[in-house]
């Protein structure tokens, strides 16, 4: 399975958020790095089919990102999003399961599994509005995994998590990435260092660098800074 972006461009008024980007994502974890405003979120939204590029195409094995089939195999965790205040954590996951097309029995099973996985069992019946930032983030991660996605796109998934949880989720993402396409953006370079198979570095809407990443090759933070510096 391959997710292919071909010369995608998105412009907001006089700012080019994504500039003629072309790449192919294969199975494994791809890290997306870039400063604030580099266009990472815009790129991820385009890959999810929730933002239409001004030009260029995104396809998955020839399947357009706007199709129901594509959405069926997609999991997305946005950087920031709200929750329905009247829903408990379990309600929220059951609702998202239904919207993602899971059958009732399957939805119940998957919801319980993920509640356990993200360690929200004690809080599952509580209203989401009472959750802390970290709990909400874990709930967000759980919803992204509900439909067992073949393509997982996560925008800052470890933001708000405590160090212990971050390590746990890093490992979880690495495990998921073994047989799926995972794209994750983060500010915390160390989150990618040990799990990314590939890296994409964005700057001002353009793809500054892309390639395989080997943890043994050295320090990722230094590598990232050097790439950003080279471009200056």
């Amino acid at each position: 399975m391959e997710l292919t972006a071909d010369r995608i461009t998105k412009q907001y008024k006089n700012k080019i958020a994504v500039d003629r980007m072309s790449f192919t994502l294969a199975r494994g974890v791809t890290g997306l790095l870039g400063a604030n405003g580099a266009g990472k979120t815009t790129l991820m939204r385009i890959l999810c089919g929730i933002l239409v590029p001004d030009s260029g195409t995104v396809t998955c094995d020839g399947m357009d990102v706007e199709t129901e089939e594509y959405r069926e195999i997609l999991g997305y965790l946005p950087q920031e999003f709200g929750y329905y205040p009247e829903f408990s954590g379990r309600d929220f996951l059951l609702y998202m399961s239904a919207v993602k097309g899971l059958r009732k029995k399957e939805a119940l099973k998957k919801t319980e599994e993920l509640i356990e996985l993200v360690r929200l069992k004690d809080a599952a019946r509580k209203k989401v509005r009472t959750y802390s930032g970290g709990m909400k983030q874990r709930l967000g991660i759980a919803q992204a995994l509900l439909n067992d996605p073949q393509i997982l796109i996560m925008d800052e998934p470890t933001a708000g998590l405590d160090p212990q949880e971050r390590i746990r989720f890093r490992n979880l993402i690495a495990a998921i990435g073994k047989d799926r396409i995972v794209l994750l953006s983060t500010h915390i370079v160390s989150d990618l260092e040990h799990i990314a198979d590939r890296l994409m570095i964005m700057k001002e809407g353009g793809l500054l660098w892309q390639g395989e990443w080997n943890a043994a090759a050295g320090d990722l933070e230094e590598f990232y800074i050097s790439k950003i510096g080279e471009n200056k």
Binding site: T41, T42, R45, C48, G49, I50, L51, V52, E68, R71, E72, L74, Y76, P78, E80, F81, G82, Y83, Y84, E86, F87, D91, L94, Y95, M96, S97, A98, V99, K100, G101, L102, R103, K104, A107, Q143, N147
Partner: protein
């Protein structure tokens, strides 16, 4: 899965604090308005009303009442005192008749069936001012011929008051629709939930329709609760007696040979249809604006225009269209405006044409909203 989504969409609407508070407020307000109107009504004993049951409202009755009638400042005043208290129910009907026909009528000098002759003149004059064709006048004359005259008094306080309450009910339903459904599609954008929904399998097509269905369920439930909060006190205190009596006891200027019950059923149907239409328009605005305050402002703007704008008789077409709005229909303005709507060569009454129009608006809102929803993007 759509059933589960529908269940959760209902939960969003029925469990939202703002919706519960708004509905409770509306019910309390209507209950207090209804109970205060009952308390303020002339103290009529049921016995007196029963005694007058079947009494013909004619010159003889007016002569009997003359000792307690006064003509002051261009209005006939009824003084319900002493032995005349037993006439209070029929005085109420006479009061309604004078107000509807011409509030300057001097009842103290009326003889025989002069009141009905005055009504007939007024009807003819209104039809003339409204520019009705001969065919339309004929249409009304045929119906008017079937209306029994002189009118006969029958107890009708329960259904009569309920019929008059529909305009207020329509107002509350519009308000509740604006509060409850303006966020249906907009809140997801404000909260960023649309990022999750629009990239989910059922989030682009099915969810749109399910949200609409949940919105309709909610507004119909709310409309029923609001209706019951008025119906129960009126029927509980006055009873349902009078449902089968002539409409003219409540709407003296109507030329329709219908009963109060008939018009209650019609008003109830229009009321529910209007509720569904308000819901559809609210949800359409919610999809288009993706902004809850903007949707509420749009609906409140309509409400103000609805309350204060009237088109004079010379703007015939505009007036015809304007009189099809729910507020006008529920106010029973068809009883003082006799313009007919011609569709496929057949004349239709205002409320008949309005129901067709409301269904068309609902379908149009659904289709336009669907097109807009399909094109929704995040962070555009």
């Amino acid at each position: 899965m759509p059933a589960t989504i529908y269940k959760f969409e209902l939960k969003k609407l029925f469990c939202a604090r703002v919706n519960i508070i708004a509905l409770a407020g509306a019910v309390l307000m209507l209950l207090s308005l209804t109970l205060s109107s009952i308390a303020e009504a002339r103290p009529v004993s049921r016995e007196a009303a029963k005694e007058l049951n079947g009494r013909i409202i004619d010159g003889q009755l007016i002569n009997e009442l003359k000792p307690v009638l006064r003509y002051e400042n261009g209005t006939t005043v009824f003084e319900v005192t002493g032995g005349y208290e037993k006439y209070a129910p029929v005085m109420d009907v006479l009061d309604v008749m004078i107000t509807a026909i011409d509030k300057n009528i001097d009842l103290t000098g009326m003889q025989g069936n002069a009141l009905y002759e005055r009504r007939e003149q007024e009807l003819a004059q209104r039809m003339e001012i409204q520019g009705l064709t001969e065919k339309e006048k004929e249409f009304w004359r045929n119906r008017e011929d079937q209306v029994q005259k002189p009118f006969v008094y029958r107890c009708h306080s329960g259904p009569g008051n309920l019929l008059r309450a529909f305009q207020a009910l329509g107002f509350f339903v519009l308000l509740l629709s604006a509060i409850g459904l303006s966020g249906s599609y907009a809140i997801e954008t404000a909260e960023g939930m649309n990022q999750l929904l629009l990239c989910s399998r059922y989030g682009k097509k099915e969810l749109y329709c399910i949200k609409f269905a949940a919105g309709f369920t909610w507004i119909l439930t709310v409309a029923l609760i609001v209706f019951l909060s008025v119906m129960i006190p009126y029927f509980g205190i006055y009873g349902i007696e009078g449902t089968g009596e002539m409409l003219q006891l409540v709407k003296p200027m109507s030329m329709l040979p219908y009963t109060i019950g008939h018009m209650l059923a019609v008003s109830f149907g229009i009321y529910l249809l209007a509720a569904v239409m308000f819901a559809a328009v609210t949800m359409l605005l919610s999809v288009i604006t993706q902004n809850q305050p903007a949707t509420i402002c749009g609906l409140m703007g309509y409400l103000l225009i609805d309350l204060f704008v009237e088109f004079p008789d010379r703007y015939s077409l505009l007036q015809k269209i304007w009189l099809l709005r729910p507020n006008a229909i529920l106010m029973n303005s068809g009883f003082s405006n006799y313009r007919l709507i011609h569709l496929a060569g057949r004349p239709f009454l205002n409320y008949q044409a309005a129901s067709v129009l409301y269904v068309m608006i609902v379908i149009a809102a659904l289709l336009i909203g669907q097109q807009r929803y399909k094109r929704l993007q995040v962070g555009k």
